[in-house]
Symmetry: C2
Subunit: 554 residues, 2 copies
Amino acid sequence: MGERPPVDFRTEPSRYRHWKLGVEGRVATLWMDVKEDGGLVPGYELKLNSYDLGVDIELYDAVQRLRFEHPEVGAVILTSGKERVFCAGANIRMLGQSSHGWKVNFCKFTNETRNAIEEATAESRQTYLAVVNGACAGGGYELALATDSIIMADDGATAVSLPEVPLLGVLPGTGGLTRLVDKRRVRRDRADFFCTVEEGVKGQRAVEWGLVDELVPRSRLFEVARQRAVERAARTDRPAGARGVTLAPLHRAIEGDRIAYRHVTCAIDRRLGAAEITVAGPGTPPPADLAGIHALGAAFWPLALARELDDLILHLRTNEDEVGLWVFRTAGDPALTSAYDRLLLEYRADWLVREIRLYLRRTLKRLDVSSRSIFALVEPGSCFTGTLLELALAADRSYMLDGTRPGDDRPPAAIRLAELNFGAYPMVNGLSRLESRFLREGGRLEELRARVGEDLDAAAAHKAGLVTFAPDDIDWDDEVRLAIEERAAFSPDALTGLEASLRFGGPETLESKIFARLSAWQNWIFQRPNAVGEGGALRIYGTGQRSAFDRRRV
Amino acid sequence: MGERPPVDFRTEPSRYRHWKLGVEGRVATLWMDVKEDGGLVPGYELKLNSYDLGVDIELYDAVQRLRFEHPEVGAVILTSGKERVFCAGANIRMLGQSSHGWKVNFCKFTNETRNAIEEATAESRQTYLAVVNGACAGGGYELALATDSIIMADDGATAVSLPEVPLLGVLPGTGGLTRLVDKRRVRRDRADFFCTVEEGVKGQRAVEWGLVDELVPRSRLFEVARQRAVERAARTDRPAGARGVTLAPLHRAIEGDRIAYRHVTCAIDRRLGAAEITVAGPGTPPPADLAGIHALGAAFWPLALARELDDLILHLRTNEDEVGLWVFRTAGDPALTSAYDRLLLEYRADWLVREIRLYLRRTLKRLDVSSRSIFALVEPGSCFTGTLLELALAADRSYMLDGTRPGDDRPPAAIRLAELNFGAYPMVNGLSRLESRFLREGGRLEELRARVGEDLDAAAAHKAGLVTFAPDDIDWDDEVRLAIEERAAFSPDALTGLEASLRFGGPETLESKIFARLSAWQNWIFQRPNAVGEGGALRIYGTGQRSAFDRRRV
């Protein structure tokens, strides 16, 4: 991927090329209208509302903005701006020409965006409805599956389909299989049949099998959809009269191997393949009240932090794939950081504060599912408290300096638990990071909860199980350096599998199943000669040839 | 794999080359003592108690026989017969020289055997204890993890380790990662560290981190182990004075493309890559009482069926990898079949009947996790009832002939639910196949339960959701033939991923996580150049070279 220009995830509605966003009262509409020659990289045409990463970046931005900039919107209609096609899914030629890493990273991002649509419905109370006004295939149907309700044109032609297996020799990899059986509870044998039929299923059978929710004559499609959306919007708890918060352009400076935002900086060590990421706590006291938070808007530290961290993760994942280790530090005043956390807790019922917490939650989840090793270093001057402590809890491993360094007159590092660590930021498995850490050790959580607000020095934090190691100044440099160098020497693939297996103990959810079972299988298939070798199904799609598969099952 | 002689899974203690089995009162001991030159295929030496499929086939047989032939045994000590090594895990040279398919199939079988050890502990009340009397690495530690309690020698040298990531660039693929965090609840950051340290962890830290249960001086190791085993055995519900049932050699005839057992036959169509498997119901009425079951022993139809089906699945998986579709039929008298099911239910508290049910359960689970498409065809003359109905419920898709064929004067096919379909044979996700089929449609299960014993014709079975399609005689041939031919034309890899994703809706368990998350990641890694390419870690192990990894994360 080194040769292509870096992908920028920052955009805004005025720059959209593929989506149109309209708001009418409590209902918004997102029209997908992909520009054929608007591909992110050369080599393919985005026909039939097929998408690539560029199209999905705009969708991600739109979903994000609807939450922050439109508090009044309680329902979102997702439909096509084209005549006879809803969406043909991910562009096949794009997949065919992409590297393995690009395909996997693309699928991860699209999965996260679809999960965000479900989160917006469930948690932000902005309910998404898909209005399928034409052919809806593969990733197109998977997009519809991410909404709360699928309304399909009953015109004898419009069908939903997942033709990946028969046409391309790969899986529907954006949550489709999992959502079929786990979300929509389509019977597994019907799902099996459905996934092998190129032309898909239409009309009454689609409703009966649970593939769509409602069938409406084409002439009345948008009238009925609007009605359904209005009904949903009426049930939201979002305020009709509030003013939104504009997500102003995010400032980012990339200079050589340094990436700097206002609160987050990153220095890349290419020899080690490591990124040193420092998150700065707030520099000023928080506003006095809720009005102050709204007045600050995107400048409010927790929101600014979420946006910067989110963008950095996406940037590193997509543009810096040789950087396999992310080392997190924090810097700042724990007391100030705690004061912001208290605001998030105190005003948690407010729509904006809720959105900020959800955005932090999504960003931390994105970190958890990133295929990068994560270390956290807790040193004097740091502020691993509450929300920022989640970074250390998300790490595969953490080191906390016991004591101080000669010549450094700052006090020893301390970490501090906050109420927010006990459920505000669940992982994809539905558990808080503390719960995931102390699986079924319920007693431990109770103990820790009693210590909220307490400063825990290295010995105490180590004893409490909150950090992995607590070396003193004499051992620190060697121990940390060795761990970092060692990590760089391991097989990156083995580390990816290791981390994906150890990070998510305990229960599984729809989301965790998508990132584990489904994505892991898809990644495997994306490596198989039957899909990507000479003559593989994904490679020869559209040439009129047929793949001669190696028929051995493994 | 076409060139090597077929693997035979049938063995017995007198033929073991790698294990010794001893029974003393209520406690059995299994000594692993692998013969270096006893590899299943040429090309490697089984040094340091490392294992290949041949070693594991014997372990599988031993675990099986202990359950049936030793009702008196309540605890099993699993240890090494060698001086300073417990087990070095799967043989690396064997892995390095094996095809992708062989590696994946090998891991699946070893996983199933370790799951059987856990099932024996939990359900058969034969508790396994590992006595780690020397180096215990990789698959060796994974074997120990499958037991209920790990007792380790405290000698300053003996350690447990999972060195796959640092040494081989692959995962510990036999459940190790999942069992670390989900079974033993080792803290995820400690697990991360542990899995990156070649030399592993020994002594007090191993206990403190939960990697082993008890540390005992070498001089007292077996004395203490024996004591622990006796304590466990005292708590079993297995009868001390009962007579075991000998698992007499299983008769199997392979002639060309036909495989015949007493109750199960299989005809392979190599053009279609399909195996037509016919399971015959019992030919005679069941014995009158429990004594009759015990007297019949291995000849009792349900036990004979389990053994034959189990062997056939293993044979096809290992020796017939180009046969991607298994088509199940049954033939027999539904009334007789039901009569046997009633016995299994009536005497379910008996140790032998319990073992038979558990064996059927394991065999059906093995079917579920097989990477083969499964169809069931329900036709006149069939007996898909109770236990045998599970075959149709395990199928990815089922077809039931509505009515009869001209010239066939048998009555139309019927299927019949039995009490056993409602929980006796849970899948790896912990749900019955009916529950998995009607996820969260609790009401449906209640309705079906009220119909136990009723003959359901094609229309009724289709309406009840128990079969996928119910074509009549006019459509049958075309519809079924097309489905079979179509399946053969799809990418086998895509089908494997599809089936693995659709078969297990609902909750996840330790077992399902091993077969999904962990195995899927391992399969992916087993395809990656960093592991298996020229210079890949698995290929060059032991040469003294170091892999130059492609450091890109995907």
